[in-house]
């Protein structure tokens, strides 16, 4: 889906840490079942918050550095960023209502 920005080890800092608006990154991988539960929710949220929150995803299989930088050892993990800093980390699959609440705190 077009609304979720794909980020890589190379583009992460520019897109997320240097982002003017708050951002949320969905760390996932193809072999991870629960990630497939969270991804559709992330897509919906990307549509709903377009222009206000930058919603991105990173495939941890092809990008090993960034997860290491943030101590990620479990997926799905959602990290919310504001002003280049980690504002909140959500580890595991949570319902849309919970993720939505956390995003609202960034605004």
């Amino acid at each position: 889906m077009a609304d979720v920005l794909k980020v890589t080890d190379e583009t992460f800092d520019e897109e997320i840490l240097n982002s003017e608006i708050p951002a949320m990154v969905d760390f996932w991988a193809e072999w991870c079942g629960p990630c497939k539960m969270v991804s559709p929710v992330v897509e919906e949220l990307a549509r709903e918050y377009k222009g206000r929150i930058k919603i991105a995803s990173m495939d941890v299989d092809g990008n090993r550095q960034t997860p290491g930088r943030f101590g990620i050892r479990n997926i799905p993990t959602l990290i919310l960023f504001k002003g280049g800093e980690v504002a909140q980390t959500i580890i595991g699959a949570y319902p849309k209502s919970y993720i939505d609440e956390e995003i609202k705190k960034l605004l």
């Binding site: 072999w31 991870c32 990630c35 539960m37 941890v60 479990n74 580890i91 319902p95």
Partner: protein
């Protein structure tokens, strides 16, 4: 008012939905995550009938979901937080809306049981995991421990050998509970070492898991095992907080039903892992989902005949 609301879109809920849609019942499925349920956490399903080469957990439930779409089933992303139950009307509340239905099927499933030991909560997400497919790949060439002795523990331990350098299976008895075929595979796997008669006492680590303190239940001898990951597969707890006090539950919290999936409340049925039963599998969930939908249909017909014209 709906004819039927199904809470949960795992295999039980999806099958109930499929049958309900084909019976042309006015139905809604309410799912708090996205469709799939627990089977999503597993890499490969080999014991669901119809798939001689096996199938991924995701692919299996995705097919089930697509099949329900063909018959027009509506699945909404909602989390039911409370309900009120009478024989004629079931009122369900989410944080956004209220739904009303003549009948209800609870297909709300179960969640992994925790060990309840020191360090477990602290290090969840930092080396403590309940999902090998989610987290296994982060332990490439490292040493990990799997706690448990049933099918899930053994299957996931075997899965973990794809990444980890060594996998310890730590079990409190001297014999695995797992299906014989899985036991054979575990014994044949070089990277797996079985630690018998042992329980974990605490999980050690600050920023991440560093090791486990263990105790032999027969000798009392305590020891320490250095591992970077701890995968816990010691059973499942019913997701029954929603129904406590409203339905009859067994001593472990699972919903008591009869052969027709009827619970202790008229017009409320249960299917899948939430039920009190001996075997929790996709294959049993599917059969129960179909039965519950059929029973709900009969219930609604009986209700309609009693209603004044």
């Amino acid at each position: 008012m709906e004819d039927l609301i199904i809470i949960g879109a795992g295999p039980a809920g999806l099958t109930a939905g499929l049958y309900a849609a084909r019976a042309r019942l006015k139905t809604k499925v309410l799912e708090r995550f996205s469709p799939g349920g627990q089977i999503l956490t597993t890499d490969w399903v080999e014991n669901y009938p119809g798939f001689p080469d096996g199938i991924s957990g995701f692919e299996l439930v995705d097919r089930m979901r697509r099949q329900t779409e063909k018959f027009g089933l509506e699945i909404q992303n909602q989390e039911v937080v409370r309900f009120e139950l009478t024989p004629e009307k079931k009122t369900l509340m989410t944080d956004k809306e209220t739904f009303e239905s003549r009948s209800l099927i609870l297909a709300i499933g179960a969640a992994p049981q925790k060990l309840g030991i020191e360090g477990e909560d602290l290090l969840t997400g930092k080396g403590v995991s309940y999902c090998a497919t989610c987290d296994g790949p982060f332990y490439r060439d490292q040493e990990v421990a799997v706690i448990g002795g049933g099918d899930t523990a053994v299957e996931e331990a075997i899965f973990l050998t794809r990444f980890a350098g060594k996998v310890y299976i730590i079990h409190r008895r001297d014999e695995l509970r797992a299906t014989k075929l899985l036991r054979e595979r575990a014994f044949a796997e070089e990277k797996i070492e079985l630690v018998w008669d042992t329980i974990p006492m605490r999980i050690i680590g600050k920023a991440g898991v560093e090791g486990l303190d263990l105790k032999n239940v027969k000798t009392g001898h305590e020891s320490h095992l250095s591992v970077q990951g701890v995968f816990i597969f010691v059973g499942y707890n019913p997701n029954s907080e929603l129904v406590k006090g409203q339905l009859e539950l067994d001593s472990l919290g699972f919903v008591v039903t009869n052969n027709n999936m009827e619970t202790s409340v008229a017009g409320v049925f249960a299917a899948g892992d939430i039920r009190s039963k001996v075997l929790r599998q996709v294959s049993t969930a599917v059969g129960e989902g179909a039965t519950a939908a059929f029973a709900a249909e009969k219930y609604i017909e009986a209700l309609m005949h009693k209603e004044p014209l």
